[in-house]
């Protein structure tokens, strides 16, 4: 497989066929419990992006001869240290502080996200070094897009507004509760998979 087709496959997997939130079902808690509007989605996506990308970039130099248990502990420790400047940035910025504190412990919980604790070892670090960040980047973009889309739809259904303008005459305030988040995530995940199946059909048809 050449570079271009490998990256094209990684792009398809990370964003579509193995999308971390909608298809693989990992890192669910922040979406279900904290993403009740688009702003919380953007805040969590920003924290997730910085913590995951910087941690994976730094930890790819950790020697493989260190035992697995210590490697994983080291990855998570690095993630917790990368989180410190992110936390300082959000808490020292008056316009973001309120939005950031609204997501509570779900922001620091992202230091144990499975892209760092699991997929780093089972996928990313098995690739040649130049591919590690590019491949991981597609998964991060896939999760970010899914998280922001999910929080935007949820926020819209909860209060029926777009940019402060009332659009819906009816609302679904129960979606603000975690059970509402679970149910909406299930429906959006099923819709996403359905769309992927259709796209796969078109893709195969084009290839033929």
């Amino acid at each position: 497989m050449n570079d271009r087709s490998f990256l094209h496959q990684s792009e398809r997997e990370g964003i579509l066929t193995k999308n971390p939130l909608f298809t693989s079902g990992v890192i669910i808690a922040p979406a279900v419990a904290a993403c009740t509007n688009i702003y919380s989605g953007i805040i969590l996506a920003s924290v997730f992006t910085v913590v995951t990308v910087v941690t994976l970039a730094l930890c790819r130099y950790v020697p493989r001869r260190i035992v697995y248990t210590l490697r994983i502990t080291l990855y998570t420790l690095v993630a917790s240290l990368v989180y410190v400047p992110v936390h300082i940035y959000f808490t020292s910025n008056p316009s973001l502080e309120e939005l950031y504190s609204a997501v509570g412990i779900y922001a620091p919980l992202l230091i144990t996200n499975s892209l760092i604790t699991l997929r780093s070892e089972t996928k990313f670090y098995r690739l040649a070094k130049p591919y590690v960040l590019k491949t991981a980047g597609y998964y991060v973009i896939g999760y970010d897009l899914a998280l922001i889309l999910f929080s935007a739809v949820r926020g819209f259904l909860i209060d029926g507004t777009v940019l402060g303008e009332k659009v819906l005459s009816f609302t679904f305030p129960i979606l603000a509760a975690p059970y509402g988040g679970f149910i909406l995530l299930a429906l959006m995940s099923a819709a996403f998979r359905w769309m992927i199946q259709i796209l796969n059909g078109v893709y195969k048809k084009d290839a033929a």
Binding site: I28, A29, I72, T73, L109, L187
Partner: protein
């Protein structure tokens, strides 16, 4: 007897009505992963309980050293170090005490160590300001609640992943919908 029943009811309520997965979604991804292998449910649950309780104990004694404005920023790192210490100690203990089970048990230890359920327990304990006993009880509640939630999903996981479920809903979406319905039921009981 009445007091014993009250304690028993409080414990049941803690595991069901205050179940951390159904009320806060923390640990849902690990729960779905564990429900795929229901015969190892107790091993997973036991290790998650052990990690929550022992790391809460360590964190309780070390947290006062991280109360400053600057040192407070490193609380997540402290929690990771506590978890890492319990992780290494658990593997060493199994290797020394039950070497022939080491290969089987180590995969549950790996999955139980760094996940949102255990780390979330440490964060919630830190925020609650509870004493040692309160923290340890909460940590135990997380572990037992995790076993309960995994059991509820595991008993229907095969049906939720069967061919009879439409392809788009099969597996993850059906499981998360199922968890959502149980979560809604628990919310209605809490009111």
């Amino acid at each position: 007897m009445a007091e014993f029943l009250n304690i028993l009811l409080a414990a049941v309520a803690a595991v069901t009505l205050d179940n951390v997965i159904f009320t806060t979604a923390i640990g849902t991804s690990t729960l779905i992963e564990c429900a795929r292998a229901p015969k190892h449910l107790l091993s997973f649950g036991a290790f998650i309980t052990e990690f929550s309780v022992l790391s809460s104990l360590l964190a309780y004694f070390l947290e006062p050293k991280f109360q400053g404005k600057v040192s407070g920023l490193f609380i997540p790192s402290l929690y990771v170090l506590c978890l890492g210490a319990v992780y290494v100690a658990t593997l060493l203990f199994i290797w020394l005490a039950a070497k022939k089970y080491f290969k089987t048990l180590k995969k549950y230890v790996h999955l139980s160590a760094f996940n949102c359920a255990v780390l979330g327990c440490l964060f919630n304990n830190g925020l609650s300001g509870e004493g040692l006993l309160g923290r340890l009880l909460y940590a135990a509640q997380i572990g037992v609640g995790f076993i309960f939630a995994t059991y509820l999903l595991a008993i229907n996981y095969k049906k939720l992943s069967s061919e009879e479920v439409p392809a788009s809903f099969r597996g993850f979406p059906a499981s998360i919908l199922y968890i959502g319905i149980i979560s809604m039921m628990i919310y209605s009981l809490r009111i």
